[in-house]
Symmetry: none
Subunit: 184 residues, 4 copies
């Protein structure tokens, strides 16, 4: 049922989705949802929490594996697309509503996550530059933004049953980006 809510929020937008629409999609009446959830807000909350927890588990495993900058970068990209594969609707919601939701104390963890996310990517990129594996003439702050935007926005068009698998998309993205930022 959480998955149902996530899908509806993702496709219609959180604010524009009515509780009745979620209930319809879940095969019940409006009021019945409230037996399972406290509020509309707590639905997104749970959707986003579950997604972020899972995403960080994957990221933390990568960080813990002690790869060099370039392979860490590749692994993070790959994990990102795999996370999109597992949590597509949640990622779409995160992408679209995060900024607005974060103004609510209840969703402070969104800002925390974002901060940690930025620190993680910048650290990999800066390490790569220092190790001489990434070009030094690029603004890593910009590269971070470009990468972040492209990867997560992919959730908007990715279909798990589409022509390209998450791993293949990741491979192509890395091919595009890596051969650009790697010194030749």
């Amino acid at each position: 049922m959480l998955a149902t809510a996530a899908e509806v929020f993702a496709s219609r937008g959180y604010a524009s989705t009515t509780v009745r629409e979620v209930a319809d999609a879940a095969g019940m009446l409006g009021g019945s949802l409230y037996y399972h959830f406290d509020s509309k807000e707590s639905m997104v909350d749970e959707v986003l929490s579950v997604f972020l927890t899972d995403m960080w588990a994957a990221y933390d495993a990568v960080i813990a594996s002690g790869l060099d900058a370039r392979d860490t970068f590749r692994a993070l990209i790959a994990e990102s697309f795999r996370t999109i594969d597992r949590h597509r609707p949640a990622v779409v919601i995160y992408q679209n509503e995060s900024k607005h939701l974060a103004t609510n104390p209840r969703f402070a963890y969104l800002t925390d996550s974002q901060r940690r996310f930025r620190a993680m990517w910048l650290s990999v990129l800066d390490r790569g530059v220092m190790e001489g594996v990434f070009r030094a003439d690029l603004d890593t702050g910009l590269i971070y933004r470009f990468t972040r935007d492209t990867v997560w926005l992919a959730a908007s068009w990715y279909r798990s049953d589409g022509r390209l698998s998450a791993d293949e998309i990741a491979r192509q993205y890395m091919a595009m980006v890596l051969d650009g930022i790697v010194t030749t």
Copy 2:
């Protein structure tokens, strides 16, 4: 006043923005807006139309100038960031609300524009592959999506008074992407 509306819609989201908030920002009362606009919908409509018209004028000029694939690509990227500079709020709105608005016949032009947009970029990329200037082992459909997403989402964080100018951001983006997709 249109600019005011665009800014409010961009920062709060179209659906979440109340007409009163737009009126406040414009220094008048809720009902007064209706002397200037038919409806909330016609406000976004005008915001988006103006933006798209201007964007296509710029793109058409590039296409008309008869450059080769690689320089066309560079010019389109540059024009995109310049368009963001001129129409940042409109681009944000376009990015966030387009999909939802497009279900309304009134906004059919959004879908048309998107289709034309896709055709234009694919044509440049495919021509580049054919001319041997872009790598042949990449999926141009994917490259198109990656590029589109990254460029337009930049409107979410770009500040015209920020550290980096639109042209500098464009330059960095091209450096990243081009050296990746260009044959070596």
Copy 3:
């Protein structure tokens, strides 16, 4: 369980009390109450009926004992405070919800009881005036109201485990009403 319902209704108000709260207090789940009661309404109904039946039994015994006006008055006051002692929550509910409930045909007996109540007290007071034991310059209709209100509203603050017993409160009240608070 009826006592539980009465207490909850008395403390939170009938309209503001949810069936779930009554169930909670009775140590069961919301739906389970309906094995014991037809409806929320039938709970108050039974609470009030039991209370009124008991109260009238006490009053009728007083009336039947053939005392003079002054002693009948004293006895009725005493019985009223004893009834409060036995049915405090029910009296509170009666006091607060009676007027509203009485619009419902099912609770017509509330209006009947009130009418009979008024007749009984007026008869005692008027008899006392006629017998010369109560002052003739008083409006017995008013005295009735003052007495009724004070006695029954005492249910709002009376505690059976408090400093003063029901009989002591009755004694003080009679002292005040019968002889006044001014020293003579």
Copy 4:
């Protein structure tokens, strides 16, 4: 319009009154009320605040006039009935909803007022006992409660266009309480 709301709340009970009913009584539609009030809560809030402010102005004037205990008592009773005459619906609401509303921080002033009210009456009664004008064998705490309940509950049945004026009711009440109903 505030008066309309007060009347509806008083007759149907705050919790049982719907915003639509208030609007009906005010000759408008449900949503229209919100142009004038923030919420249902702020309606009662204003009704009660206005009433309490006015009541305390009257009481304070009595206290300031430096009468002896007995005349202060009489004046306070008289002012109470006059306040009921001016603010009948508000007094009814205060009487019925006070306890429940007071759990809300917004209505903390209800508890404050009640505390001050109690202190004022007890001070008058105790002073009377000390001055020897009121009987010493009475529990002033009880007398306070009896008086408070009777006076304010009168708002439930008092009609400004009824047979008896507020001052006449006050006179009768004082006669009863001060000197008793028994002939001497």
